[in-house]
Symmetry: C2
Subunit: 244 residues, 2 copies
DNA sequence: TTAGATGTCAAACGTTCGTTTTAAACGAAC
DNA sequence: GTTCGTTTAAAACGAACGTTTGACATCTAA
């Protein structure tokens, strides 16, 4: 039977693993640094989670389960409040972005690890991790896609899906590198509410844009500069400093 | 003196390393799989590149040097063609996105590895890699930021920087997971030109949006649903399938 | 021919990896 | 008090890791 001490160790492992995976990725994080951070024996991890992949899966389940649920709950709540009328795109985007930005940017101690984790696993190469994540996210993404389709019936569904991927990519990127949103010299942590407002406004305008069929002539007066892309062949075109 | 055979080996190593880093990330790719792919001896890599990090740096330099130059050239060409008038946002975005999408999505054989590499390293934890990449990209990003500022003087600079990060994130995400843009069942590779047009239209609309100061009331009729986010504490809120 | 770079190779260096084994300590039930 | 399932600990497993070594070719310059 699980006593309180056991839960304590299990959670310590999950916390340390979350930090390690966020910092170094799945392959780069080692079990030994995780158990050092959790102050438990190496075998304890295998007792609870079976393997490194099992540990990763538990970490993802603990974080993304509630997060995804919050996103879905937010969408449903807004839909109920709106009654029969389709939601404003801004409301849909808020329901999607607010839970992630909130858990990632607003909380005090070191839950920045969560942010990096969210962003990191979007690019994780591990096939099992990818499959697990896809299974987790598919229903949620489907719900948001349907909501967008109701609000923007004139935009082809395939483009709505693309645009949703753009939003997901930007979100993952921001969560993974929150320092890139900070002002030039300031070290002040970014305000989650402000980022949310800016992202909602930015992407809502994009979503409401009609399908772009221009591509070539959109540059207008610069169209003549479309020379075929050449690959550079010379040696070391850019020396570049190697130190930060 | 470098003979042709030597250059051949050096390039074979870079090709194999690029593929391996794109597939497994920096930590996940092993020197032995790289030399196996390049059909060279293990020591040869150290003869040419000194270390694994040196190899990574050479891979990044070879790809991102020309890519970044193409982006800058495209911007400058459009600026010259436009004369004194500020560029259309669409033109700026095209200059930014077209080289990356072109090298990543359009080429035949296996240069998809380049795409995954571009997307992957945006999330690479390795500090040295991050510093190297930042040094590479800073001047280019600055140029695009200035171009955007001239075209959209009414948008505060800090928000232009944020929006540029959103675009970079979406681009990295798309390059890293090109399959997510494919249609549901179809396996047809995505058309780079179509993605470019859609991204340009989508983000141009976002950039031209005025600063959003609403955040709270933007959801309009759904504002009452803004309950404080609760963290879920119950055990395993979502069982979820563990197999793909 | 000799001296010295220049590339290439097989083999091994010591370390760290994920994982397993073995056993001891624990609390509750009989 | 013994037994039993559960939990922790120390040590070790074989494999793979990044890196180095030393020898062996090959070629140029003196």
């Amino acid at each position: 039977m699980p006593g309180p001490a056991e839960l304590c160790r299990r959670d310590r492992i999950l916390d340390a693993a979350e930090r390690a995976f966020a910092d170094a990725g799945f392959a780069g994080a080692s079990m030994r640094t995780i158990v050092k951070g959790a102050r438990v024996n190496l075998a304890t991890v295998y007792y609870y989670f079976g393997s490194k992949e099992g540990l990763m899966e538990a970490v993802l389940r603990r974080r993304f389960g509630p997060l995804r649920q919050d996103q879905l709950d937010g969408l449903r709540a807004r839909q109920e409040a709106a009654g029969r009328t389709p939601l404003a795109v801004e409301a849909i985007l808020e329901a999607l972005l607010q839970p992630a930005l909130h858990v990632a940017l607003s909380v005090p101690h070191q839950r920045l690890a969560v942010a990096r984790l969210i962003g990191r696993i979007a690019a994780e190469p591990d096939a099992q991790t990818q499959a697990f994540l896809r299974n987790q996210n598919t229903p949620m993404r489907q719900a948001f896609l349907e909501a967008l389709h109701e609000s923007l019936p004139e935009v082809p569904l395939i483009y709505l899906r693309w645009r949703l991927e753009f939003v997901s990519g930007a979100l993952a990127f921001v969560l993974c590198n929150p320092h890139k949103l900070e002002a030039e010299g300031h070290a002040v942590p970014v305000d989650a509410q402000e980022v949310l407002g800016e992202m909602v406004g930015f992407f809502a305008a994009g979503f409401s844009a009609l399908t772009a069929r221009r591509t070539a002539q959109s540059a207008g007066r610069a169209a003549k500069s479309h020379a075929p892309l050449r690959r550079r062949a010379g040696p070391n075109p850019q020396p570049l400093a190697t130190k930060s």
